[in-house]
């Protein structure tokens, strides 16, 4: 089938027409729909109405709104006039403000000379002995 023949066959579809009187009714239907659209409230209107109804239930005096608005303005001015500083130095400083490590008190240790080493002669230096116990009995760390 050539393109020309194809064109002629497809063109036969133009005979498919809507029922008689359809276009007369169409205009009437169009007017009816337009009126219906006008009566149907928009989503925005519905939302505003509901919001208004909700707020009216609170019965807040009108001056309260003015007070809240003024407070909001003052707060925003205060925030603007004190620009926020960078948090990085603060974090750095905070790391130094942590609780310092407690070092246990060290008690002085007294030494005494071993009397036996004194007796054995003067070839060897005298032996010293610890006169006190160590501060704790924890086993030393092994490496």
């Amino acid at each position: 089938m050539s393109h020309e023949k194809m064109h002629r066959v497809i063109r036969l579809k133009r005979y498919e027409q809507p029922p008689e009187g359809y276009f007369d009714d169409f205009l009437r239907d169009f007017h009816r729909r337009q009126r219906a659209e006008l009566l149907k409230p928009s989503v925005r209107t519905l939302l505003m109405e509901r919001l208004h109804a909700l707020l009216s239930e609170f019965r807040v005096p009108s001056m309260a709104f003015a007070g809240a608005a003024a407070l909001a303005v003052i707060a925003s001015i205060a925030i603007i006039s004190h620009p926020a500083q960078s948090t990085a130095p603060r974090a750095f400083a905070a790391s130094y403000q942590q609780t310092p490590v407690t070092i246990p008190k060290m008690q002085p240790v007294s030494l005494r000379v071993d009397p036996q080493s004194q007796r054995s002669g003067s070839l060897f230096p005298p032996a010293y002995m610890l006169n006190a116990r160590p501060a704790n009995h924890e086993s030393p760390l092994s490496f």
Partner: protein, 238 residues
């Protein structure tokens, strides 16, 4: 004659008020539709009748838009119907198209013809609709006009060439086959076939409406015809 004189629109402000009275030649000053337009006392003759009706609609005369609806509904119906293959869907879409056009008519500046503008709205809305409808399509076809029986192209298409009436296929059989073949096309191809083959629009006009080049229109048509040939070849063999 008041109806044939186009009215120039000027920038102004006004109160929007719907007016559904469709009396022609009303003595009352028409209510304004667009907030930036108003009817000027200064008049000028506009040769294109569409432009005049558009200007009157923009000026707040709903009866002018009614005339545009009457004028364009058969043509736009055909465009949408051959895309959807469903009468009910076509009716709903056509209503939506005119509603949208009425709401947007203030934005119509006359850069293109009203004809092109209306067709663009119809094509866009129809393609959007078809994308949403996707696969759930139930054809609801209109009966072909009885004049089809006298069309030589119909006689040629339905006879077997030997003049044997017993071999002739019925109108409905042909309609069904044509519809099936059309629905196999993509939306982009179907729209050019509808506009060119069924509605007889020139390539240039189709290109303007679809915002594509004339070359693209021709190539889409060529490809669509080849697909239709394959689909209808089976029909011819059967």
């Amino acid at each position: 004659m008041g109806n044939t004189i186009g009215l120039r629109c000027q920038v102004s402000s006004f109160i929007l008020e719907p007016n559904f009275s469709h009396e022609r030649n009303s003595a009352k000053a028409p209510l304004l539709l667009c907030n930036h337009l108003h009817m000027s006392t200064e008049t000028e003759i506009i040769p294109n009748n569409d432009q005049e009706l558009v200007a009157r609609t923009q000026g707040g005369d709903p009866s002018a838009f009614d005339e545009l609806v009457v004028r364009y509904s058969p043509r736009l119906y055909g465009l949408i119907y051959h895309m959807t293959s469903n009468h009910e869907d076509t009716n709903d879409l056509l209503q939506d198209v005119f509603s949208k056009a009425y709401r947007s008519i203030c934005n119509f500046r006359g850069k293109s013809s009203f004809y092109t503008w209306m067709h663009s709205i119809s094509v866009n809305m129809t393609i959007n609709f078809l994308k949403k409808r996707n696969r759930r399509q139930h054809p609801s076809l209109n009966d072909p006009d009885s004049n089809i029986e006298n069309d030589p192209d119909f006689i040629a298409a339905t006879s077997n060439g030997n003049g044997d009436p017993t071999k002739q296929v019925s109108i409905h059989e042909l309609q069904k086959k044509l519809n099936t073949a059309m629905m196999k096309l993509s939306h982009d191809h179907r729209i050019v076939v509808t506009m060119f083959d069924i509605q007889g629009m020139p390539h240039a006009e189709i290109a303007k409406i679809l915002k594509i080049s004339e070359g693209t229109v021709r190539s889409r048509l060529f490809y669509a015809h080849r697909q239709l040939q394959n689909s209808l070849h089976e029909f011819k063999k059967n």
